[in-house]
Point group: C2
Chain length 367, copies 2
């Protein structure tokens, strides 16, 4: 059953008249049309038994068609009231709306108010969980794209590591990475590329700047690419010059935590179990207070998507799920280290998409 | 009166107990703390007579303090229920919430539901218009940042034009521009840089790719930088080789439309008047159907912000407003041309922030 039919079945089963999808990632998922509409309205309306329709800025109508959307499109201009146009198009189908499914985690209160005004009798139900459950299981086509996205992420780390030299700044290395990717046709990163040097590795959300590489620094890379609409996300931490025993201990603790969690991935395990496995390794080594975030997050069209791999998520892993595993220790007195892989739950275990080595890479300082 | 006090006054005047700000651009505006929280909760709560508080991911608490936030911060971890922590912090202040102001154009339905559950007695009122009216008037500090942001945009166009050569692709030129900016310390563009060649100039939302420059092509640049949290946005269109008479006519029509609209900017003029002035020039020249979007948009912390410069916006221009003026003609049989400036409404006229020439630049083809 294709995606549109699956949503229509959901509507039929739950006696909901229509679904209105406006999250650009979900619009892409159901239509193949990727667009950032800014404040303008972009959406897909699906029905129980009628063809769906799309609403988008008029100047993007040709792009939506070119992306493969074969149904009606309502194009709106900046002086139009897009809500009125939407209502007309729905009325033309002769479908009364008394129950409408919306993405409650995306639709704004203002837009809900506008829909309520269009359909004063309507009540609203939640579509988010269906879309999450559809998107969380990746099909073979999606997996092959994600594999390729991860391969570009590996390549980016390789470029970053090869750029390391005394005195270079975070931004210089970051620029070299993104330039190399652009040369390979990768025009978008899945989030702001992170290159952090020395003490800045201990800030999990630090911003790259003018910090220069010095002997003895750890260097943390966290980055990902967008490839055919899908995201990768990798973290590696390397050492410039011989690390201290304390730094090595932090690194090896994170590495064991990460590997143990990866090794535990298989259908039937709970997301929270993975978090616990990694957290226990880090806590037992005495660094528990410095692992300040969840273990990972779902990965696909969005760089952070369902499911959250956190200590209280009882979700059972299922074949086809893709998520990150990324424990870290951020000890301001020693160093920060994070190691992150993208993994797929397979029929009886795990496939690791990101392949750059997790052994501690030590870059020689030449003196 | 500072920003926080102004919002508190609004609460007092309207008998609203508190305001909850979660749009990251507005959080930055009122607090100085810039963060992309992804799906996590980041917000500022303001009261009538009590100190405000911030809620943010625990690992970002030091960053918020470093950005100058001097009041309480509620840090939440991934296993916490941030809503419960928020309620506790508000309860500790002993302030009952029966009216809460929210950003209806940003807050999701899911978050509204969560707030309603926290404060079952509360009703919700709109904060958006106050924030829009505050942000729309830029102070001297903001204007000096915006001037600098525009200067970097001019520089980017200069780099782009200097890179033009037969056979180069859109992505090659785009990469050269962003690399040059990174070398100047500009790490973020305000939106995806657009370099479009030849027929692709006629697609107002086209995507840069592998199109190679050929003799006779027009090349359209649309780009902007983020500088100290503020955006610039410029468009210029140039010719590679001698243009045809038709191409020249399109260009000169857009140029007149743009200049006439810019020249009309002063306090008391309506936003819609500017749109009409430019549109009339283009319509009278016979290209009306090919100018498919509004004249411009507000510019500041967000690259698209209040006000919209559109054909039905009766807003009166006021000193300190900053917006774009960007008419275009997208004639698939001739070429696309867009020219865009960032302008400030001054006491008695206009200041143009973007200064790159608007005369048609013709790049010699060397044959």
């Amino acid at each position: 059953m294709n995606k549109l039919n699956r949503i229509s079945s959901f509507l039929t089963d739950n006696n909901v008249d229509a679904a209105f999808i406006t999250n650009p990632d979900n619009v892409f998922y159901v239509s193949g049309f990727r667009s950032n509409p800014h404040e303008r309205i972009l959406g897909v309306v699906l029905f129980k038994d009628a063809d769906p329709l799309m609403i988008c800025p008029k100047m993007e109508v040709p792009d939506a068609k070119a992306a493969g959307w074969a149904f009606d499109i309502v194009g709106h201009q900046d002086t139009d009231n897009p809500w009125e146009l939407l209502k007309e198009a729905i009325n033309k189908k002769g479908i009364p709306i008394s129950q409408l499914a919306i993405e409650k985690s995306h639709l704004t209160v203002e837009r809900l108010d506008a829909l309520q005004e269009l359909f004063p009798q309507a009540s609203f139900t939640r579509l988010d969980d269906l879309l999450n459950m559809m998107r969380v299981i990746k099909d073979e086509n999606e997996l092959s794209i994600l594999r390729q996205a991860a391969e570009y992420a590996d390549y980016a780390i390789q470029v970053g590591v090869s750029e390391i030299a005394e005195g270079k700044t975070e931004l210089e290395i970051l620029t070299a990475i993104e330039l190399a990717l652009k040369k390979k046709g990768i025009s978008h990163m899945s989030f702001d590329t992170m290159v952090l040097i020395g003490p800045k590795t201990a800030s999990p959300h630090g911003k790259p700047g003018d910090r220069k590489i010095q002997k003895g620094d750890f260097i943390l890379f966290d980055l990902g690419v967008v490839y055919k609409g899908y995201c990768s996300d990798i973290t590696r931490t390397v050492s410039f010059g011989e690390p201290t025993d304390e730094q090595k201990d932090v690194y090896e603790t994170v590495r064991r935590a990460e590997q143990d969690a990866v090794d535990a991935v298989k259908p039937g395990v709970r997301a929270m179990d993975l978090d616990k496995i990694a957290r226990d390794v880090i806590t037992q080594a005495g660094y528990g207070e410095f692992f300040t975030h969840r273990l990972g997050h779902g990965l696909g069209i969005s760089v952070h998507e369902y499911p959250s791999v956190t200590g209280n998520n009882e979700l059972l892993l299922t074949e086809g799920m893709v998520f990150t595993i990324e424990p870290g220790i951020y000890d301001p007195k020693i160093t920060g280290v994070r190691i992150e892989d993208d993994v797929v739950v397979t029929k009886d275990g795990v496939e690791i998409l990101t392949k750059f080595t997790k052994e501690l890479v030590i870059i020689p300082t030449n003196n």
